[in-house]
Symmetry: C2
Subunit: 347 residues, 2 copies
Amino acid sequence: MKDDSFRTIQSLGRTELIDELMEYAEYEHPSVKLGYGDDAAVLKGEDDFKLTTSETFMEGVNFDLTYVPLHHLGYKIATAAVSDIYAMNGTPEVVNVDLAVPNKLSVDMLKEIYRGIGAASKDYQFQIVGGDLTASHKTLSVSISCYGSVAKEDIIYRKGAQVGDAICVTGDLGGAIAGLRILMREKKFWQEQEEQTSFQPDLDDYEYVVKRQLVPAARNDFIEQIGESSLKPTAMIDVTQGLVSELQHLTSASDVGSYVYQAAFPIALDTRTVADEMREEVDRYALYGGEDYELMFTLPEEQVETLADEFQDFVVIGKITDKEEGLCMQQAEGGVVTFGEEDETNS
Amino acid sequence: MKDDSFRTIQSLGRTELIDELMEYAEYEHPSVKLGYGDDAAVLKGEDDFKLTTSETFMEGVNFDLTYVPLHHLGYKIATAAVSDIYAMNGTPEVVNVDLAVPNKLSVDMLKEIYRGIGAASKDYQFQIVGGDLTASHKTLSVSISCYGSVAKEDIIYRKGAQVGDAICVTGDLGGAIAGLRILMREKKFWQEQEEQTSFQPDLDDYEYVVKRQLVPAARNDFIEQIGESSLKPTAMIDVTQGLVSELQHLTSASDVGSYVYQAAFPIALDTRTVADEMREEVDRYALYGGEDYELMFTLPEEQVETLADEFQDFVVIGKITDKEEGLCMQQAEGGVVTFGEEDETNS
């Protein structure tokens, strides 16, 4: 089958692939305000907009049951789903949970996944209203679809960033991939042991990054803050694929360019320590790592100080430029690099 | 790991298992009118109710790529999802599609799945608004979540059936499982050939049942009809697991019993022919086969004739009785059997 006509899925970038698939999404329903192309789809309501999004995690690709506790898995996929709702400045309301479950999982293990989703439902205030459950021969897969809403005047799209706006990011970046690196190293070490017992690595020194990988938090605190504020970001997206990918999405939707400062990237000391140990560049963790579930947003520059008085856990990493400028990064040493379209496939 | 504390998922019935999992669905969102327990969850709207549901299909369990064309797979899972919306007397609006895709699928094969969902989107008039896409090491899995709506006065729940109501079913039953039996037999035959070419069975004689299995249709025609009618079923459910399971769900929700006539089951001649060939009881196909995506509904007996003037493709299979009567079936030979709780695990 590996002839010329077999285009592998890896031969296309994720965005390019989804664009090809979406050619079949021709039918337009009158209730839809915005279909594919932002963190969540937008449906018209009377007073508000309804938001829908979904996430799917496959064992062996998005998680490894050797080191991912099942309740953390449940919490994380719920976080990933609600994060897309927050990225539109909305609040989640309900989720459906779809599970394909292999025999190696007991009833109690399955309940652990639900316990994690249940914990997330309290933190993010959504109700689990149903879903589907089927068997699987080999691997566990979990999908969560989330429905939420946002007042019409409050919605924030990826589009909307204006030239001159500051580009801001909540929290810190690269921690999730740093945690993954540690967990993978420990797993390799464990596999090389002659007498394998159950996987119980000593992760005390890496608590922060491992937690960022296993139980990331969505930034509802920021959404709540701007709900109380007179300020409103001009554009927003959540950081699931890494900075480069999110900058591409946001600037493409807003028809602008961007100029970011590598030295301004918010990277935790614990994340730097891991990159040093691994002899890897920590900035690549921020640029391509993903799974941090932080929010990246743009704001008129004169409003940044006001926001900083109200909410402390964000930094400015750059500014929005003309579209012709492309995506530029001023490196710590002073040189300037440009990210092209092809960078998207790295993430 | 197979000690006493390892309760296998098969050790519980599907409903019992979901009930245990739903213990973690404690958080109640104020927008929810009905969470778990019907074909779709119900959210409060201003003028209408919003409906949400999801379906998940796993390769090797819910479909076999040896004989399931990918565009049929896409069409079928969309049918399964919208069927739950129709079962509430609603109409679908949008879907999210989640895919976990192994390397053995090319871009064009993936597009075939979307082509099928796209064809369904035109037939059922919903918009594909997004979803998620991830890799998979071995098996393809597809989940579809669907969002729809129904006017408040039009919603039909599983609850609502009254003692004396006629139990009705659209179309015919057991065809989907008959088609599956044929496809499995042809696959076995093909596997036993010494020289295996590609799987191209001669299915001309089984066109009807194979189509029922591969590309079932949801009954939007019935929903459109009752939208124009002065009649409204008192309760409704779609037939995805087989008659016994759906009767259990509907009567349990309505707090009633049921009495059905085996001789009245709507079974196509083509379905009977397959059961004869397989030396199986065709009534078991209807009782436990599932995947027919027909609608089962209840209606005051005096309204049945009026409905029959408006819509011809349904039959009366029995009547609603007192709860204490349980679930009874009068066999064709005249004897009466009762279905207990344990029958649910057969489906």
